[in-house]
Structures are given as structure tokens and as C-alpha cells.
Symmetry: D2
Amino acid sequence: MTEEGHKKLDWAAAHMPVLQSLKPILIESGAMKDKKISMALHVEAKTGVLALTLQEAGAKVSITSCNPLSTDDDVANALREKGMDCRAACNQCNEDYYAALNGVLDHGPDFIIDDGCDLIKLLHTTRTDLMGNVIGGNEETTTGIVRLKSMEREKVLKFPVFNVNDAYMKHLFDNRYGTGQSTFDGIMTATNLVVAGKVFVVAGYGWCGRGIAMRAKGMGANVVVTEIDPVKAIEATMDGFRVMQMDDAVEIADFIVTATGNCDVVAQHHYPMMKDGCVLANSGHFDNEIDKNALSSMAQSEFDARYNVKGYKMLDGRTIYLLADGRLVNLASGQGHPAEIMDLSFSIQALCADYLLNNPDMMPGVHGVPDEIDLFVAKRKLELSGVKIDKLTPKQEEYMSGWKEGT
Amino acid sequence: MTEEGHKKLDWAAAHMPVLQSLKPILIESGAMKDKKISMALHVEAKTGVLALTLQEAGAKVSITSCNPLSTDDDVANALREKGMDCRAACNQCNEDYYAALNGVLDHGPDFIIDDGCDLIKLLHTTRTDLMGNVIGGNEETTTGIVRLKSMEREKVLKFPVFNVNDAYMKHLFDNRYGTGQSTFDGIMTATNLVVAGKVFVVAGYGWCGRGIAMRAKGMGANVVVTEIDPVKAIEATMDGFRVMQMDDAVEIADFIVTATGNCDVVAQHHYPMMKDGCVLANSGHFDNEIDKNALSSMAQSEFDARYNVKGYKMLDGRTIYLLADGRLVNLASGQGHPAEIMDLSFSIQALCADYLLNNPDMMPGVHGVPDEIDLFVAKRKLELSGVKIDKLTPKQEEYMSGWKEGT
Amino acid sequence: MTEEGHKKLDWAAAHMPVLQSLKPILIESGAMKDKKISMALHVEAKTGVLALTLQEAGAKVSITSCNPLSTDDDVANALREKGMDCRAACNQCNEDYYAALNGVLDHGPDFIIDDGCDLIKLLHTTRTDLMGNVIGGNEETTTGIVRLKSMEREKVLKFPVFNVNDAYMKHLFDNRYGTGQSTFDGIMTATNLVVAGKVFVVAGYGWCGRGIAMRAKGMGANVVVTEIDPVKAIEATMDGFRVMQMDDAVEIADFIVTATGNCDVVAQHHYPMMKDGCVLANSGHFDNEIDKNALSSMAQSEFDARYNVKGYKMLDGRTIYLLADGRLVNLASGQGHPAEIMDLSFSIQALCADYLLNNPDMMPGVHGVPDEIDLFVAKRKLELSGVKIDKLTPKQEEYMSGWKEGT
Amino acid sequence: MTEEGHKKLDWAAAHMPVLQSLKPILIESGAMKDKKISMALHVEAKTGVLALTLQEAGAKVSITSCNPLSTDDDVANALREKGMDCRAACNQCNEDYYAALNGVLDHGPDFIIDDGCDLIKLLHTTRTDLMGNVIGGNEETTTGIVRLKSMEREKVLKFPVFNVNDAYMKHLFDNRYGTGQSTFDGIMTATNLVVAGKVFVVAGYGWCGRGIAMRAKGMGANVVVTEIDPVKAIEATMDGFRVMQMDDAVEIADFIVTATGNCDVVAQHHYPMMKDGCVLANSGHFDNEIDKNALSSMAQSEFDARYNVKGYKMLDGRTIYLLADGRLVNLASGQGHPAEIMDLSFSIQALCADYLLNNPDMMPGVHGVPDEIDLFVAKRKLELSGVKIDKLTPKQEEYMSGWKEGT
């Protein structure tokens, strides 16, 4: 229902005060005025607020989803009702999904806001005709950054892209506290199962994985971490978690959640080792972290156990459950990150777009977000939360910059 | 949809192995054979599994809800399709609600399963005609126990009632880990707001309150506790929480959740002191812990901010949000306690009903659950979870029973 | 040094405000005036403050330790300098230890304050001649209560004894937060090893064990619990811990700490299964929870690895470490419970002694601490901490005592 | 006692397996053979093991302390008995402290291992004569790095120095889990006060501060954080802590611990606002984080409350306590970081020294530790702990390096 969509947008807006407070700044800047911005993000309420903010700052926004399952149709309808070119719909088949991506590009964008790098990849492969017009872009997520850095390494990336993901005010909060909470929103909504007392396996101990592990612990689970990086693995042990290889973890898991950005983390040879009733979910960007095709091919039958829970009946009688078809469980089964978290990420997005449009001559490549933008958002957030912090006294500043005063 | 209801029942049943394992025992016992059991519980999937278990053990079950907002209509339909006399429906008006309670009593019950003591109260006030037939009952929750103990004190309680709530295998798990998790299921579903970094006020530090506080902390909140009991208040401080009077807590709260079993815990004089955007929810049995009438009377307008979120616009411009109309947020906005938790509580329910029907001469009054039932459920749970624990050696048993061996 | 002892007493007194505040009450009561009180408690600073408080209230105190390793000689000297009959000394051999126990009994006590029941046991076995004079006593700890209940069951207990351990203001705080913290004080002082990332096995999930497990988790350990009670075992799993049999736990343990009140919890057959470097410690009352004789007999050699750390070199080359000779590690290697915690326990002690001396006709047997004493201490503590809590309104009181108002 | 020192060294060595395992590598490399290494580190057991390792690898080691209060004299004696030129002693006056620093420089070092930059500062100011011989150095701690970066900025730093502090395997573990645990070792040893239920203020939310805050929370405290950095401040709030200005925090603090690397964090104007009994401690490198001179000048009298606890009696009757004279409480009152943590830091130290001596032509300046050293230590640690982690499959490696495969 469109009305429900407007409510969701209003609710989100009311809980994104930093982004709201940027509007006059963006209008004053004028950099977005009449610029065409093509966006591929998860189209739900918080994203809607970002898109509307850019629109109010003068941009002509065309938006679609970056994932076939993550669109909130209420919100998409409301955006259309507000005059936005929105092509997202939930449960798009692959063909429709790509048609929508191409559709927002048809727009002839000056600026790209991407999440997972699907738009930018299209621009560099089948839609190179549109490249000339593009001033630059932003990339939202780890997975997209990995792809962009490959492009940069191969020297094919043709315009500047801000690595929004690596801004402090983005990944420290969005990836960790955002993914941490929303993953459990997704899991609880889908399953109504208890987390406390369960063996909860988290694949990957990056910012997302550690957010999930932290919250799993906070919900009372017995957490197991799998990793490929030795430093992160030791960190996980020091945080009190068991670290093991996935081959061992699958044997004791009640839940397995992936957050690696890699494929086949749960793979064909793991399914025969799982306990009856094991629940699988993915919080990573793409739906290939859990090899669901292998699971399907090994099962004797599949059934819809609940909404967003598919049961795979194995030949030996065990049942394995996959949530949200292996797509990001926090968006496909839950409501995505909390509004206050996205307020930070999307404020970075808006300010980066403004910055790049004001600085159109930046070199092609992946650019870190300027510290001043990070700091601006952080200070604004503290201010709006009423939290006061200390300032260095002149004596302290001098002390910190000297080296002669010792013991 | 009824089909969805059957799925939910199957899912719950698959995650309630202890209760499933009791079926042959209850059938073998025969105590329920042809007995009429009237139940007033939250009619959702787990309760459905309990009711079906009793039905399969030979009882004639008549069931309705113990709360006008907590019924899952899918499940209610599925139960009816399985031939049960189910009178529950979601969003009943008060009249319908009481009609349904009276309806299950019309049945002429041998046994009562109550949650909040509404059925037993009716039997002792307007339906005394049916009392003669009643062998006894079970009471599920703290609030009901408080009422029953008042009745006992006033010497009006006419039949024996098991205090299921105070069984270890019930309150230690259901009230604490169950309420703890499901309260956040309810809050996250209703609001999609972040918990981390918020001032989260929990009213009451009983088993429910401490479950909520524990999970709020586990989700990253800054937790404040209010109490009337000095011992519990000190416990809360030693658990790292701030303890303050509600009059002070309301001024800093982002969320306030009540779990006290008492009325007017959030009261008229608190509303003017709240921050703009404060979110109120109740996890206690009745919807009088937060004085919503006062809130409504003080507001200049009310609006549906989201599903299950009502906004109250105050005269000074602040907005206060109330979740699920002040009814138990974990059931009215979430899916209630996880299945594995209710497996324990409802196994106690089933065994208590069996015990009392086998021992019809128990004295009127509130009876503690026999230790043997608690232990039976605990052992069965461990067994079915594959957890092995130690046994005393003969030497240790002797040591524990002696007193002469010292330093 | 005696001077150091006075400082320790002053420090403890400054951090035991509740007990300090009881002095005028005890003097006013007069019940202790000229009464002979024989005490066997861990003689360190906090106990010293209790003994001095009783002395200032008019009692003639004779005190010794309840454990051969737990005396702080500085404090013992200071107490003697303050004119108290103190017979405690650290590292007493068994003979001296018992001579000291008998010494405080020679005094001819009116009242006993016991910790572990050694004094009361002597009175009922070899010192029955003194029994006639004894009005009653207090018992401080779980182990003593277990022994007293055996005596009560065998109907041999000849005078009333307050079960101080089971007062809320004692066991909820002393056993849990006190043992929790001081066990780590003891372990860290003895070993300087890291807790984070270690497999930390806690034997027993009573109040002490759960305090230890909670703090081990708080220090970053991976906690494993062993239990004999199914309910506690399930609680431990729901708190996120692994529960296993000791036979399995010993194979993965980096640390094993016992808190069971039972003997041979770590037993002969466990030593061959332990990892090289495993550290054993006991937080229970007696030094028989870990079978150190068996360990000694199986080792090829023993050596002092550090102060309070004995290394046992096994035939296969592994080394197993035992802290503080298996005596309560928090007192023998650490400084015992924090002062503010003992403030609560010892306020209960003082008020119980006063109560029983004022009510000399109480029946022989183990008596629960009157609720009014618990509440008095709790309220006083809140007051002195500046924490304010809520009070029931008249409407709320009425509501809580009624049963007719329902949904 | 020297014997005790040897025991401590043996104990530490037994718990530093990574460093032990490097010995053959360092000998094989030969880079240290006959090189003169001057070290200024906290001279206690773990440092002793590092110094002995370098000595066994062929270096001629001269060592003194980097702090007048942090030397363990037992260990210093044992090192001397093992033929090392050790000039450290506990409680050195400032003159002796500097004499010792100059003494280890008199040696004419090829390589410097510094902690806080006192040695390197001397070399660049009063001992420039010795500079010619120096190939390079390592710096252990944040404070030293801040000074070195000032030197680099001012272009005065004359040789290459490895920033050991910023190695992952150092700061992630040493600063966080090491400081976290050892700070409480120091506080508990000094005070025997309870942490649970206390308002515990942590100044600074860098790696050290967050380690302290994490452990304070794990011990049950109510944690307050002060910061000057907006991003870290928001992180602290999201971790559930209250963030406030020190001016406000001092009014509610039971404990204040500084870990900022800055001066006057607790300053003159704070003392009048503190509660009676407030305990101050510093975990930062220098003893100027708490302005103890101001405290002393404002107090009407000072007294030794306990070992390492100085009481300051204020004019208005309040007492403020300062631990370990404001020097790093974890070393001056506790035993410093756990051995297993220092195993990681000192393995980085040893490998960096080896690397730089093998690459004598590195440019002057502050150099990051090569990733290969970090990874080597991490892998070795996992191996020796028996923890196995996953490896990328060829397919996964390819996937991670591609950018064309998307949704």
C-alpha cells in the first residue's frame, strides 16, 4: 500500500536527523542542481529518504534496487507517487532486475550511487556509450569495493568513485551495529527460534561478521567463528569465540550465517555433515555465499516451512533450512539496518556526491572519503544526540605535538 | 490463511521436542481421556501445539485467547480445521473477548489452563455454576499467580491450581530468555530502530525484566532499571545498570519497557517529562502498565506512525510513540517466545494437568509444581539436546550428606 | 607488619559503610553487651572490621581462621594490638589450626560465628562440654549450611543457627559478585596469565560458579560449565556456555576452577587427560574439590613455579599447575572479596547475632534470616549509595492485592 | 630475590611460545650476531625473556627501564646473573633513572628498542655523539610513536624506526586485551574494591581505553567514556557506554582511569567536583595524565592508605585516592600484561630488529611493520594454539579478484 509507504518514509525521515540537517547545505551548495543521479540501492524506507533528499537538493533521481529480493514495494510506490523514477520491485526475476538496472542508466547519469557495483560494471561493459557523461560515483558496500579495486588494478575504471564503505562513519557503524542488529531482525522474523543456547556459526570476522558475532553473544548464543585471515582469527578467539574451520563448524552448528563477500563459503561437501534442523542464512551482499544450487541438487525434496524459510529434506531424513533464499537476510526477511544507522551512512553518501560534483576533475579511481566529511557527520551526530565531548586545551595540543618532554 | 497456520504449527512442533516426546506418556497415563479442558492462552503456534498434544492425549479441548491482541488468526483457523473448539480471534473487542472466555467455559470444563487468571476469575464470580465440575487448573504467568494468591489469602479459591509460573523450567527460561528475546522481536519489528547507543529503561527487575535488560545490554543499549524492591534494585546496579526512579528515568529514556505486573508504572505525570520521540512498550500481561488513557487525553492528536506504532502528538510539539497499544509487545507485535522456550513451559503445563487429573483430591489452593516434574523436563531437554552432565559418585553423595569431615 | 594491618582495617572500614552505620544500633540494642562470641572466619581486613564492630557493641570476641591459608597476618597482628583474642596465623599446620579453633572455644562462647561449620562441629563432637552455654550461631557459607542441614536431618544440632548464606543480601552478592571478582584477583595475582581466549572450565553453576563464569566471560574467556543439576545445566547453556561432563572438559581446559562444595570434582582419572600447562584452582570452601593427593602421587616431580603456583611434572612430560595448594584461590592467592560486598554479608552477620541474642529461645535448627533483616540491609545500602527507587502508590498497592480486575 | 626472578623468567618463557620458536630463526639469520642493542622497556619477566632471546641470538644487550616504578627487581637481578648489562631498579629517583638511560647508551648501540621514546630522544639531544653508530630502532608504544612522528614532521629523526605499536599483532592485542586485563590486575591488587556497580570512567577510547572499558563492563561496572575524537565518541555510545565531558564525569565517578597519551586529562579544576572516595589511576605511558601536583597542592594532607594507594585529604573533608603515584597502574601496581599477550608484541619486536639489521639501508623515519612479519606471527600463534582456519579455494581466490560476476 502506497499509504503505508509514505508512513515508512516519514518514520525513517524522523529518525535520520543528520541527513535531514544536510538539506539546506546541499541546496546552498547547488552542486546537484539538475544533475542526473542513477542509484542502485536496497529500495526501502531509509534509501527512499536519501533519494528524496537528493531530489530536494535539485537532482533528477532515477533509482532501482541492487538486489532482487530487498525492495519494499510500499516504499517504491510512495517514491513513484512523489514523482521519482523508481524501477524497483520485490521478487524481480533476473531479467527484470537487469532491465531495471539498465533502465536507470538510460537516464544518462551524471552521477552513480551503487551498492555492489552492478551499475558501474554495466557502464564499463555493455553501456560504455553512457560513460562520457558520468562525472563520478559512490560505492556503498565492501563487495562493491572489492570489485572496484579489481577494476582499478586492471586499470579499467574510468571515473572517480568514492569508497563510502570505508568512511569511518559508515563501516564502523553500518557494517557492525547495523548488520549486527538487522541480521537478528531477519532471523527472528523468519524463524521465531531462540538464539540463546544455540551454536551460532559466523563465517567471516570483518566488520559485518563481528557485528553479528557480538549480537549473537548478546542474545546468549555460543558463537563459533570461521575465518581465512590469521589476525582476525586470533582476534575472534580473544573475543571469547571458538574459531574453527567450516568443515568442523558445520557439524555442531544450529545456525550458520555468512558475511564474507566470498562465494561457496557453505559448500556442497558441508551439507552431509550438518545437524538435522540446521538453519542457514546469509548477510553478505550476494546470494552465492551459501551454495544453494548444491543444496537443492542434494535434497530429495524442498518445501516452504514458513515465510522466507525453505526446508530441504535430505536423503538421510535430515532437514536443512535456508532463509530468504540465501539473499541478505536482514533485508529480505527483516527491515534492513535501523534508520539511525543509515542516517550516518547516507549522510556520507550525500556529502560525497556533493563533494565530487563540486570537484569534477578528480582522477579516475577509488577514492577514500575525505576526513573532513567523516568528521562533519560525526560532529553533527553528536550535536543532534546532545552528547558533549572534550576539547584539547592549548597546553594539551602543544604537548601532543612536541617530543622533548618525557619521563 | 489456514495453510500458513498449519505450517506454523508444524514448524513449532518440530522445535518442541520435549512436548512431542510426552505424547506417549500422556496417552499411557490416560488421565486426560475424555476430560474437558478449557484453555485461555495466547493462541499462536506454540500454544496450538500444546492444545493439540492434549487433544491427542484424549482431552476435549476448548480454547480461546487470554489477550485481545495476541491471537494468530492463521493458527486459530488451522486449529479449527483440526476439529478443535477454538474461539480466539485477533483484535477482538472487549465484548467479543469476554464472550469467547465464557464460550470455552460453557463447555463445562474438568480442567482449566489459564494465563492471567481471567477464566478462573470468571468461574469464581459470574460462572460459579460450573465450579462443581472443575477438578483443578494450571496458571501460566506471574500476573495470574498474584491474583490467585490474593484469592487464596481471601480464602475464596475453590480448587487446586498449579503455579506453573514458578516451576524452575518455566520462569527461569520462559520469563527470562523468552521474554528477553521476544520483546526485541516485537520492538524491532514495530520500529526498525537501533537499540545500540539508546537509553533503554526497563521497569521491573523480576525474571522478565532482567531478561529484557540482559538482552538490551546484549544489543548495545545503555540500560536503566526502575524497581520497588531494594534487593532487586541492588542486583540491577551490580549487573552494571543504572537504577533510578521512574520520575528521573523518563527524562532520559529513548525506550521504556514495562514488565512489572502492576498498573500505572508509566503514569500521567511522566508524559510531560519525556524526550521527543520516546518509545513506550509493555511486556507485562495486562495493558495497564502504561496509562494509555492519560496519554491519549493529554495528546493534541494521535496518528498511526507505522503498523503497531501509534504516535501521540503532544501540545508542546513532542511526539511519544506507543507500541501495540500497550499490550504485550512480544506477542502483539512480535511472534511471542521462541518455540524451544515454550517447549519447556508447555511440557510443564502438560505434565501438571496430567498429575492433577491423576490426583483429583488435591486441596484447593495454589500448589507448587512437584520437583519431579521440573527435573523430568530438565533431564528430557538435556537428553534431546545431546548435552551430558556429571553424576555424583557414591563417595561424593556420601560426602554431601555428612557433616563430620571438615578442614 | 602491624601498621600495615591497621591501614588495611581502616581501608576496609572506610568501604563498609552499612556495617559502620549499624554500630549505634547494636550498642543501643545491648544484646551483645558482655557476650562471648567465638568466630572462625577468614581473618583478613573485612572480617577484622566485623569483629571490631561486635567488640565495640560490647561483645568479647575471640577469633581464629576457618582456613589454614587464608589469614592476613598483618590484620591478625593489628587485631591483637586492639586487644582482641585473635589466634589466626597464615600457613598453620593442621595441628595448629585445630588448636586455634579449640582455643577460641575455650573462651566458653555464648555465640558462634562459623564459616564452614568447623566450630559447630567441634562443639557437637569433642567439645560438647561447652554446648550448654551456647545461645546460637551464624553460618556464613554454603558448605557449612550443607553440613548443618545434615546435622539437622540427623537431629543432632543442639542450638539455633542462622543460615546467613541464604540471606538474599548475602548469597546474591557475596557468592556471585564477590567470588566472581576475587577468584580472578587470585588467579591473576598467582599467574599473570591472560584469561581472554582461554578455555575456562567452571565446575558448578551455583551462585559462586555463575559469578565465576560471568566474570570469565567478561574477561574474554571461552567458558565451559560442568554440573550435576539438570536445571542449572540448562541455565548455563542458555547463558551461552558450553556444558559438558568433566571427563570431556579436562581435555580442552586451559583453566579449571571448582566451586561445588563437593570433593574430588577434579579426580585422579582426569590428570592424564589434561593439556600441558593446564591451571587448576579452587574457589570452594575446602581444599578437597581438586584431588591434590592423587595429582601429587601421579607426578614425577613437583616444583614451585611461582608464588602460590605449584608445578606437577607428569611422567609424559606435561606440566599441570595447581594454585594456592587447592585452597580457596580468592583468599589464599588474592585478597578475598571486595570490601563493599563483605559490607553486606557482615551486616547480615551482625544483625543476625543481635537478633538471636535478643531472641534466645529460638528452636534448635537451621533458621532462615528474617526478611526484615535482608530488607533493612538492602535499604541502608541503597541509601548510603544515593540510589533512589520507586514506591508503590496506594492505587498500585490495592491493585497488587486484588484479583478481580482483569483484561 | 634473584631465585624468584629466575622463576618468573621461566614462567614467562613457558607462556611465550611464539617468541621461543623464533630463536632458531634469529640465530640462523645471524643479523644480531655481536650487535649492541640498547633497550629501555619495563623490566619485568616478559621483557626479560625478550632480552634473553636477543642475547641468545648473538646480540650484546644493555637494558634499563622506561619507567621509574615499573621494574621488577627480582627479574633485574636474575638478568644480571645471566650476564646481561641491566641497569633497571624499582623506585629510581629521576636522576638515577636518567643515569641508567644514559648508561645503556654508553654501550654505543647499533640498535635501539625504546618504549616511550626516551632513549631516542636522548640520542637526538644530549647524546648525538652516538648517533653515527645507530642502524635503527623499534618503538613499542603509542606515546613514543606520537613523539617520533613529531620528530619526523620536524625532519630531525636521523635513523629508521619501526612503529611496532601499529603492527596488528601488537596493538590489537597488547593495547586492548593486555591493557584491559592488566589494568584490573593493578586496580584490584591496590584496592581490593569491587568493580561491579561502580561508575567507572575511562578517559580515552583508543585501543587501550576500549580494552579497559570492555573489561570494566565485563566486571560489572557502569562505564562512562570521555573522548576528544567525535568518531570514537560515537563508537563508545554504540558500545553501550555513556559519553560525557570529563567536567561532568568527575562528579559521578567512583573510578577514573586515564589512557589518552595526553597530559592533564584529570586536572586541577576537577578535584573539587569529585565524590568522596574517588579512585584515580593511569594506564597511559607517562604520569602526567592525572595532574598529581595540583592534587597535592590542593590537599590539606596526604597519607598512605594502602600499598600503592595514596590518600589526599581535601579541605572539605573528602578523600581522593591516587594509585601507584599516577604511573601506569598495570605495571606499577600489577604485574603488567599477561605473558601470552607480550609473546605477540615481543615476537614483532624481535623480528623487526632482525629485519632492520638485515636491511641497514632503510631510510630515516617511522616505518610500518611489514605485513609479512604481522602475518608470520599470527600464523605461528594459531599453529602453536592448535587453532585451524580456512583457506581460500582456487575458485574463491579467483572470485575475489574478479569484478564481472554480479547479482
